[in-house]
Symmetry: D2
Subunit: 431 residues, 4 copies
């Protein structure tokens, strides 16, 4: 049995029913997968009050209610409106408030005003979802729409993760420290130790197998790697505490110039959500587990830590090469299987998720187009390409990433100061 | 029978049950008045969803839920905690989130974070209110506490008005234009015409009769007035439209320097809530009534209009002198009776509220202490005095002011750029 | 012999040649006064380098070069252009850069861009000044222009003071602590002690005698005063140090709400220009004299100090009543003579400047129009009236005020947070 | 004979004496090159007034005077102080004001306060320069210091370019449009047409020959290129005008998301310095030459133009591969010689500077470390590495780049919104 999300961090998300995940991963066809994804979104908002679901704590984040409405707008706009003859919009005023950033789809509400949408209510939106789910059934059978539907599913899964990170950020603003879920029972896991080494040479990277991938994962192409090694383990809370104790946040020499300015301006001295020995989670304030991977750090912090440790961050291609084991795209639901480690190196412990799972891992690669990349035509083409400046690539998946949403070629991306996602790091070194 | 609020503007607030107001105004004793005031607060939030009640649209405004919690914090802190032996706080963490600005009461949540308080829920707060209401009963009989209880009632009434102006501002942010109440039936009223004149001389101003008043309304003292006249009518929407049509918002010569800068920076070209021929109200978008008093203007706009009209704003003392008719404090529930106009001047129409009612009226007086003013001791002393810089005095009452909360000596105050209250103007001239 | 400026503070300004001041005060006619005022402006920039004279350290301040150009623009525009037949502008592009805020005179350079005017050079501007001085001679004899010329002289004197406070602020930004003048020899003066009392009653205030006054000083009118007393001495550096030592900057209860926010946001803990035991002056860093009047404080600080001291700030009318001794406008060059103190109270020491001189003194009066105030027609009417919101009145004169520029009815005005002028305080109390 | 700078743009810089450039390029030894570089810096400030040289128009820019002082601080600190026994600082207070960003060298003046340094004067700084030049002579002969001296020379040359772009930006702020130089005579040049193609494969990039290079240019390493072509010509003003006429600045689809936000926030509708048919230059406002390369554009604009043109920007490696012609580092003073174009492609016109000269050319490569990059030890190690986030690489050289300062491996870098440098673009395409 598999969980809905990748290895949950100390109980966060444990209480989300596993049923949906099972259904999704067990699904034979598209219609089943559609149902499973939609059901999971609704399960995620179920512990939230109407007010919880309306909170927007910063411009980067959106209300939970907005997330489940926006994904529905996506289905209604790009599937129903564009491909179902005679379909009439459920409410003609809603595209204005639930479009995210698609310029080609017209004007929309200012991003930081999403938190003002007390109406429509959660019930209104759930009714809209049901309406769309019913209307869409005939389209799920049309094969020429399957790529677009796959995109819609991946899109909704992305918003599931954002919903979780955004509501965490919102609840954190409340000095009373409310919780969304009860604390689950943390499972002890044996973490792998050592380094995965790679001899360098030409590697094939980018999406190259069958199955869905975002446009930014392709085209597949060759890159030339120098010999390197990638740590088998993520940096832990305990290691991060050492970095702090050693004055890591006070030594300008460890930091990128922009990072040092950011640190000083925002008085940064620890990962986000840390306070004394505790960390804020979806289950409220909890003691930090020393051996759990550190999360909620920025690129600036990841880079400074790596410098302090005498190591560096991997490139996105180095990470991908290890994740693939040079064997091509691993199946989406079992990425760990793709790791091929030679005998002298640490074997992946049984049941391990390999490089995926606990947290997104910063690479030192800027988020830029691959050779011969072309965005898709139309509004959907705005999906990825237009964000290709100023951001860094992250690889892997986090405890909040929906099952089935990851693969070795997956490229997540954030600005170097952002840290409200479950972001961590895995060190690399030259050999 | 009287309404809960002063003459409601085109139906806004009409649907609030008049029962509480009747109870309040008919109340013989303090305990009855306490009940009536508390009940009205709860009636005001009753049409709001949990999400509506949590919205905070700007730093100046607070969530509806916060208002009804904050007033409860006031009762619990200054009455129950300070005067009821053995009382234990309902929740020890709540003062941090529901203290507004009382420095003497310790640290508190940043003002613009009140909108993040999805918890405690509305139900939690209503339960707290019930608990406090019950616990406070024995104190209502202690005469030495009556001044403090009167302050608490006046305080809660102030927050009733803020609750209404704040939720209006919050709902206005929603492009879907939601409403809080159904539209009531507007009553035609005959507006008085002409000018009330005053011969000048020494007038006694400030609170001087029995009954409750805020500390900033005293001490009563004499001021010397020059001869002047005050308009019997408020400036209307139709008159304001003339001002706009005449280029009033484009002519720098009409504006204070700070006002011109504010106008340009914020692209101001009409009162707040205006769009095309409509205005946003608690009942959603409605056609503007030409003969209704203009509302939601800033001091800068009021001053520019007066300059354009070849008139000026009154001082707070001129306004008060007319309101009193030189007869001393009019009873709080019947201010109109205090106007004494000589024969040649327009009589107040039957049933008129005189100078009170539709909107707060800007004066050209800065909000400053009266001679020999001393703030009260302790935290309660922070109530008014510490705001005495940079603001202007407004007189009267608005359609959102709770019945029984006004009197000729009442001094409301806002910064010259603020306009989310029901603010309007009444012209004055030298004679 | 009199100095150019009022009692200079510890040598600041001492080295400015006294010749001009003598000439000004000794001048029989307008032409002589014109020459004296113009010469003083040029004497003030003479110790400055081309670069010093171009510095603009904040939006509130202007470059020294700009000041002496702007006043010349004023003469050229309102005298030569408007009243000298056939006059052609010296340079048609210069009005755009040297108009300050006169909307009626058209577009102008953004205020905070004045510091970018490395051209025209100081020499260019001095040549322009000479040209204007020569062209203006015939106009000095036309009596109907004398009010306008008097306004021009007063205007240039105001900019002389601003030039001094602005260059002080600019040089202060330089960590090397440069000086503009050598330190002069400080004269010990015996400061008056005690209180000047006033019995209250009706006082006549505002400009009422012959001679020039700004429009905002009139019309003369009666005000009703309560009995009060005004301190014969200014608050000193030593007294201010006591306030600091007693935690004055850390006790919210002493502060206006806006002041407390300002203090926290700007980390204010002492008057401007203070550092350790020193203060920055036009003569560089100097030891602070304990018995010298404190200067460079904001209204917020003045008000907090008065509260701490158990006193209050005077109103502008109280200050004026004491300054006048109820005898009407004292002659501009000898304000001290106007003080009439009854026998039991401290006599003004011989040679004292009375209430004028060391620093501008905050009053608790907001800067608002007097009854029946009307701004002048045309661009010159923008001189004062349009600034009547949000500011406080200061009375007296400072060590940087040009001799002959003060009188009891004079109303200076600044925002409550500003403190780059020589601002101090004199306490008042009710009696 | 060669000019001081790369092909000057329409006369800008033509009037700078060519003597220094001749001296520099003809110099046999280090001492001669040192003299030539130092002399050029002083020639650049010679047309500036004391005030011109003190202007700082934005945080990104520095005063001309500061530039020639800062480079002197670099020599005094890292050569004289660290390597000349017994050397005493010329002024112990100056490091605080003339250190740029070297954290290891201690506290320093806030970057945007450099424009407040009216003192020390230009003459003071020229005297300091002379002092340092004399003291440094014995060190020029010590071979072990040559790498550090080469760094110092390259550093001073970088500041020569910045001095020119910064003073241009400063003079541009002045509405009077002052000039620094008289307009030179523009030479017509025949621009190359067509495309340089590359078959793809493994290329060696990064600094690999003898001679000075910055640390960020190495280590040399191999990269894998896909087949591509690079335009032989830079995009011109006329082509940019077509982009504007075609609505390029109004079509969101052409822009990166961050670029579109930047454009809207800053109301960008043309390259910097454009107004009507003119452009601001060091020689004041001049008519734009249609066939001159467009300059002063941001990365966002370059990328949008390329998208509009159906092309793309090259990577830094593609650009370098063409610049090298696969032959290794071309000599620094003759980069054109490095281009090896096959027969079917456009030959470089006689006397051409190849890919270097008119403007820096944006690449789509983020500024990141090369494999196995290690910053130098000590303060000098802060030179480049710490800026490796959020910026893009530019290749080539501009009309303001000092002769002898360029090479194929050179990596300039700026943020995607910056455009006060002479930045332009050269298109690339896949083949």
């Amino acid at each position: 049995m598999v969980a809905t999300f990748w290895r949950p961090q100390r109980g966060e998300g444990e209480t989300v029913s596993r049923t949906q995940a099972d259904q999704y991963l067990a699904a034979d066809g598209l219609a089943d997968r559609y149902s499973a994804v939609r059901a999971l979104s609704e399960a995620l908002v179920s512990p939230l009050s109407e007010a919880d679901a309306t909170l927007q704590s910063m411009e980067d984040a959106s209300p939970a209610k907005w997330h489940i409405a926006h994904v529905t707008w996506f289905w209604e706009t790009f599937l129903l409106r564009d491909h179902l003859n005679g379909y009439r919009l459920y409410d003609e005023d809603w595209p204005f408030v639930f479009n995210s950033y698609y310029e080609a789809e017209g004007e929309r509400i200012a991003r930081f005003s999403r938190g003002m949408l007390s109406r429509p209510t959660l019930a209104d939106i759930l009714a809209w979802r049901a309406h769309v789910d019913e209307a869409i059934q005939p389209l799920l059978e049309r094969e020429e729409l399957h790529p677009l539907i796959d995109l819609g599913l991946a899109h909704e899964q992305q918003h599931q993760e954002l919903l979780l990170t955004d509501i965490k950020h919102a609840l954190f603003q409340n000095p009373l420290g409310p919780q969304m879920w009860d604390k689950g029972v943390a499972q002890d896991t044996v973490r792998p130790q050592g380094w995965y080494s790679h001899p360098g040479g030409i590697a094939l990277v980018g999406h190259q197998a069958d199955g869905f991938a975002f446009d930014n994962e392709g085209p597949a192409h060759r890159v030339l790697l120098e010999p390197f090694a990638l740590s088998a383990s993520l940096v832990t809370n305990a290691e991060w505490a050492e970095f702090i104790a050693d004055g890591g946040y006070e030594d300008a020499r460890l930091w990128l110039s922009d990072g040092w300015a950011w640190l000083n301006q925002n008085k940064i001295a620890a990962p986000s959500y840390w306070q004394d020995g505790k960390a804020f989670t979806h289950c409220g304030w909890q003691n930090r587990a020393p051996d759990a991977p550190v999360t909620h750090i920025s690129y600036f912090e990841a880079d400074a830590f790596a410098t302090w440790a005498g190591k560096r961050l991997p490139t996105e291609f180095e990470w991908e090469a290890i994740a693939r084991g040079q064997e091509g795209d691993a199946p989406a639901h079992d990425p760990a299987g793709g790791n091929q480690l030679d005998g002298a190196e640490p074997p992946l412990p049984t049941g391990s998720e390999g490089l995926f799972g606990d947290c997104w891992q910063f690479t030192r690669s800027a988020y830029l187009p691959y050779p011969r990349f072309r965005p898709a035509e139309g509004a959907v083409g705005e999906y990825n390409g237009k964000f290709m400046s100023g951001q860094f690539v992250l690889k892997g998946a986090s405890c909040a990433t929906s099952r089935g949403h990851s693969r070795p070629s997956y490229r997540n991306f954030f600005y170097p100061h952002q840290r409200w996602q479950f972001t961590g790091l895995r060190l690399a070194k030259d050999i």
